[in-house]
């Protein structure tokens, strides 16, 4: 009996305000509270609230046979509490439905996995505590920031005791394999669920694209494609940004109607059901090892990490923030630690990407700035102020 597995990313960064060189040494408020509040409220109205409502209705209507999973980042939850607490309430209602699984990730949606493993573990632990506290669940499944994955990361997560991890089903990694089976990490028992990027992106990216041969995509057509895999797979992993519903694909595109009808149409085929990631790994055996010969993510055409560290500016900014780690930790100052961690959120580096063509459009769409250069300038000015205001006085005090 094959299954469909839904996973949605819910994340909001703390965006920096335009921070010019002249502010360095004078202004120690780095974040654009007004913009962050606006974005969160806008996304709440367009996506979180209506989508959660739809999900809850579908779960009730199908007696819990419609199941979904989320990773909600710590920084998103913090901002929900501040700017739109009703959103968090509706996620809590979903958690109580019994048909929703919360997947772990890093609290700060950071790139710590690539730079600082001790820090990485702390951010994972923070997120686990948060999910326990807010949703009453202890995640068994982990997803790394933007599905960034390589064997080393997989082994590290396996050693933390997770049962499964979510990853991108990139062609060159899967090679002859199908994404529609469960695999395990190279050298570990921990399971891997690989995103079926074709079917996922049909919804997430192509749904409203009038230039697409399959436009318009109806729930009926999509269910037909899924059913076409009968006998050729165990689990079809549909992983996407939650903002697909109502934000990237506006309500006017018919995305909510699509969502409304999809579960029933999937259930029309008696063999098919819908599972959460934990249920999927419990039911289906791992077909074999899935080794990764490179670091993969779900971003951009390249499906690698060039979205965050593809140019010299990004590399400099990342080197800068992670080099502060030891000094920051020595301080043992929780406010400073939180500030440093908010500055690690991957979005800051994503805005600095200098990609061309379709990738650039996506980066521009998300960026609150006028372009990658401004993003880098603001970030580096903040770094300078952080260095000056935090470290210089202390060193003076210490007589250095």
């Amino acid at each position: 009996m094959p299954s469909v597995c839904f996973y949605f990313e819910v994340h909001q960064p703390y965006r920096l305000k335009p921070y010019g060189a002249l502010q360095v040494g004078r202004d120690h408020d780095y974040f654009d509270d007004k913009l962050n509040a606006e974005v969160l409220r806008k996304v709440a109205d367009k996506c979180y609230l209506p989508a959660n409502e739809s999900m809850l209705r579908l779960i009730e209507r199908t007696d819990g046979r419609f199941r979904i999973s989320y990773a909600v980042t710590g920084v998103a939850i913090e901002q929900m509490k501040k700017y739109a607490p009703e959103v968090l309430d509706s996620f809590i209602r979903l958690a109580k439905s019994g048909a929703v699984e919360f997947v772990a990730e890093t609290y700060y949606h950071s790139l710590a996995a690539l730079y600082d493993k001790a820090e990485y573990k702390e951010q994972i632990d923070m997120e686990l505590d948060l999910i326990k506290r807010e949703f009453g669940q202890t995640p068994r499944v982990f997803r790394n920031t933007e599905l960034i994955y390589n064997d080393e990361i997989g082994q590290f997560i396996a050693d933390l005791g997770f049962d499964a991890m979510i990853c991108e089903g990139a062609d060159d990694i899967l090679d002859w394999r199908s994404p529609n089976f469960v695999y395990h990490v190279a050298g570990r028992e921990m399971r891997l669920l690989a995103k079926n990027y074709k079917l996922s992106d049909d919804i997430a990216f192509r749904f409203s694209n009038r230039g697409w041969a399959e436009y318009p995509l109806t729930a009926d057509k999509f269910a037909g494609w899924v059913h076409g895999h009968s006998g050729a797979g165990d689990v079809i992993n549909l992983f996407m940004d939650y903002e697909t519903f109502g934000e990237h694909q506006w309500r006017e595109t018919g995305i909510f109607e699509f969502l409304e009808h999809l579960p029933e149409l999937l259930f029309n085929h008696p063999d098919w059901d819908i599972l959460t990631p934990s249920q999927a790994i419990d039911r289906y055996p791992a077909l074999g090892e899935l080794p990764f010969h490179r670091t993969v993510s779900w971003a951009d055409e390249a499906r690698d990490i060039s979205a965050w560290r593809g140019n010299a500016m990004q590399q400099r900014a990342l080197a800068e923030i992670y080099s502060l780690g030891p000094a920051i930790r020595r301080r043992n100052n929780s406010n400073l630690l939180a500030l440093w961690r908010r500055l690690q959120t991957s979005d800051h580096f994503y805005y600095m990407a200098t990609k061309s063509a379709s990738d650039a459009e996506v980066h521009d769409y998300f960026s609150p700035y006028e372009g990658p250069y401004d993003a880098f300038i603001h970030y580096m000015n903040v770094m300078k102020d952080l260095n000056l205001s935090v470290f210089a006085p202390a060193e003076k005090r210490a007589g250095l």
Binding site: G20, V24, A312, M313, I377
Partner: protein
């Protein structure tokens, strides 16, 4: 498709960007099979345009107007004259050296198409030379002293003693049907001696001459570049029953702001109203045309300028002299170019990068004020005012600068940032410029936002990763800003007009 283009100058005898733009555009159009007759007031014989027919307007007016000698300037110009440093720009009325005329004559016989006739029409007006800038050039020392004296007497006098009303002016500019009558008028008009060499008279004279020169020829459309050629364009289009395209490279408003010459504005408007289609060099200019002249946006197509695809100049290594990093302003020091915002930003930058050096290269009516402002702000030590740069000096300025800034208050397009980019320099351009619309790999700022401008300068000086990323990507980017792209947009505009 056979078109008539009306221009005011053509390389190598150019004073501004218009001639260069016309050359680039016509080459690319010709490559797309457009047959072009290109008419300028005067040909020197050195022009090289195998891609089209280059025509000089025949004169409808007396061939040479004697300089008026009796008026002596009331302006204290003499003190302001620097040592004459160059005879550039060459003015059309400069006496052409005999040897040059002879050489040109030979060339004409040798390999210039029969259409090209050497006709010497006094045409002093240069594309971006309104009365004010003309005086600036003189004061800036760009004219040889002898030429300067002559010119002060004839043209740099405080404009026109008794300016005729715009209406009268335009009646002259807008050549009536009967040539003979007009020729008389034109002569009377010049004979009066009040403004015999006035730029409006030149515009009118060009209109008459141009109309005569192409009388009887058939064109699918007439394309006129900037206001000086609009009256000629209207006249010819009317006579030939062909549609008129007017191309706006610059508005009087760009050059003079609120001090715009109302007569020039009136001629611009007449051209814009008469034209079937208006072409603007940027969206910025398109919206300015709409605001200043109420021309409907639907009537205005945007065709961005290109640049010649030339290899990027081998940049001097980033070695700097004993001084600190150099921040460059290069252009006329006039209101339009925003020099004071550059100075204000410099003062802020120096608080963060004390060894930075700021070069304001160029001259203009605001130069004394800028020098005073620099002194007032106490940053004289960090400023250089080298005056007008030419040729190799410009190359050198670009090559030794760490950052090029174009803080223009109003810039229809702005080619200089592209030159800086071709020298591998990172650039900051004001958002009030046409070129900012097409550049991705430049930093952009509102001209008035001196804090942000300063922040961008500091960042470029302090962050090598920023500089390198911008320069590397800009190098690739400017390869795509070429005239073929402009022609590709223009040809369909032509087609739609001809079909309509």
């Amino acid at each position: 498709m056979r078109i008539l283009m009306l221009g005011w100058e053509y390389p190598p005898h150019i004073s501004g960007g218009l001639g260069t733009a016309c050359e680039g555009l016509t080459i690319a159009l010709a490559r797309r099979g457009v047959e072009i007759d290109f008419l300028v007031p005067k040909l020197y014989g050195e022009e090289d345009a195998p891609h089209m027919h280059l025509l000089g307007a025949a004169s409808a007016a007396p061939s040479q107007v004697e300089p008026v000698q009796h008026v002596q300037s009331e302006l204290p110009l003499v003190e302001a004259i620097a040592e004459p440093v160059s005879s550039e720009p060459t003015f059309a009325t400069d006496p052409v050296p005999t040897s040059e005329v002879a050489a040109a004559g030979q060339r004409e016989e040798a390999d210039v198409p029969a259409e090209i006739r050497m006709v010497h029409v006094p045409a002093m007006l240069k594309p971006y030379l309104d009365r004010a800038t003309y005086q600036e050039l003189i004061r800036g020392g760009s004219l040889p002293r002898a030429e300067y004296e002559r010119r002060v007497a004839t043209q740099a006098v405080p404009a026109i003693p008794v300016p005729p009303s715009a209406i009268t002016r335009l009646e002259h500019a807008h050549v009536p049907g009967d040539d003979a009558v007009f020729a008389e008028e034109a002569q009377a008009f010049e004979g009066a001696g009040h403004y015999g060499d006035d730029l409006f008279a030149e515009v009118a004279r060009y209109a008459v001459a141009a109309a005569r020169r192409v009388a009887g020829k058939k064109y699918d459309l007439v394309h006129a570049h900037d206001w000086m050629t609009f009256p000629a364009g209207i006249e010819i289009a009317q006579r030939a029953g062909a549609p008129l395209v007017v191309h706006v490279h610059s508005l009087e408003y760009d050059r003079a702001g609120q001090g715009a010459d109302r007569d020039i504005v009136a001629i611009e408007r007449q051209g814009l109203e008469y034209a079937t289609r208006v072409v603007a060099v940027s969206y910025y200019t398109r919206s300015l045309i709409n605001r200043v002249h109420s021309t409907s946006l639907d009537k205005i197509s945007v065709v961005h300028n290109g640049v010649y695809a030339h290899e990027t100049v081998e940049a001097y290594s980033e070695q700097r002299s004993s001084t600190g990093p150099v921040v460059l302003f290069l252009g006329r020091v006039t209101f339009q170019k925003g020099p004071e915002y550059f100075v204000q930003a410099a003062a802020r930058v120096l608080e963060h990068v004390p060894d930075a050096v700021f070069i304001m290269a160029g001259s203009g009516d605001m130069l004394p004020r800028m020098e005073a402002l620099v002194e007032e702000l106490g940053i004289t030590e960090s400023f250089r005012f080298p005056g007008w740069l030419r040729g190799a000096e410009i190359e050198r300025a670009f090559s030794t600068a760490s950052v090029y800034v174009m803080p223009s208050v109003s810039e229809p397009f702005g080619i200089a940032p592209l030159e800086a980019m071709s020298h591998d320099r990172p650039v900051i351009v004001s958002k009030q410029s046409g070129v900012s619309e097409i550049l991705r790999n430049a930093l952009k700022v509102d001209f008035w936002d001196v804090d942000k401008m300063a922040s961008q300068i500091v960042a470029l000086l302090e962050l090598p990763e920023l500089r390198h990323t911008i320069v590397e990507r800009a190098r690739e980017e400017i390869r795509h800003i070429h005239w073929d792209a402009a022609a590709e947009k223009l040809v369909p505009v032509y087609e739609s007009i001809i079909q309509a």
